[in-house]
């Protein structure tokens, strides 16, 4: 059964900071469990400009990469979710 959690902390990096205008925000009332695709859609609703990253972006949930797709993630209160544009370290 789905529940709503209070509070997810979302971190933005690189181009996603420019697109959203924020580096970090708290989102309340996120359903859990949730597929990574639905989680991404939820972020897109808040920040439609993120759509330019569609097909390139992955998420990180509690500092583990999650591709955007059917994979279901379970979120705990105040869990950290990150938007991860294509990497370019090195």
């Amino acid at each position: 059964m789905n529940t709503l959690i209070n509070h997810v902390c979302v971190l933005y990096f690189a181009k996603s900071v420019e697109l959203t205008g924020v580096k970090q925000e708290d989102i309340v009332a996120v359903p859990t469990p949730i597929s990574s695709r639905d989680l991404w859609s939820l972020l897109l609703q808040r920040h439609p400009r993120l759509s330019v990253l569609q097909d390139q972006v992955v998420l990180a949930v509690r500092q583990h990469y999650v591709a955007i797709g059917d994979q279901v993630v379970t979120l705990g209160d105040r869990d950290e979710v990150a938007v991860v544009p294509p990497l370019s370290g090195g």
Partner: protein
């Protein structure tokens, strides 16, 4: 060998010291230290000159991805002794090092293969980003092709 292995990862806003990275992996049980240094290349993109790079990282996750990378290296090349990676953050101007890494091993072949794997996997997995900054004040986020 009774000596333990060390995995050292540092994100730094300061100039990178190759000597410091090499010293971090030195060991009297090792005959070989392999080093890789990535520097900002002078480049022109669509007639604009690259004057430097601006780096940022998801710092905590970068640490944990580095730890995974090290265990992957140790699984593939069990003789690898110490691993040290220093990566710049913030502004890195053309000609300066953005990453310096060193791996020590008793014999050189393992270390040489491991260092290549280390830079490849770092580029692929460690959450760090750079944007190129041009002489026109414009900039663009880069994407590792590999």
């Amino acid at each position: 060998m009774s000596e333990e292995w060390r995995d050292v990862f540092k994100l730094s806003h300061d100039w990178l010291s190759v000597q410091e990275v090499v010293d971090a992996v030195s060991s009297t049980s090792c005959g070989a230290i392999s080093v890789f240094i990535g520097t900002t290349r002078e480049d022109e993109v669509d007639g604009r000159k690259v004057i430097g790079l601006e780096y940022e990282a998801y710092e905590l996750m970068a640490q944990s991805e580095f730890a995974k990378l090290c265990s992957d290296i140790r699984e593939r090349w069990p003789t690898v002794t110490h691993i040290c990676v220093h990566h710049r953050l913030g502004w890195v101007k053309v000609g300066e090092a953005s990453v310096a890494m060193a791996i020590s091993s008793p014999h050189r072949h393992d270390g040489q293969q491991a260092i290549q794997h280390c830079i490849e996997r770092l580029k692929a997995n460690v959450p760090i980003w750079k944007k190129e900054v041009y002489d026109t004040q414009e900039s663009s986020w880069k994407e590792n092709s590999e």
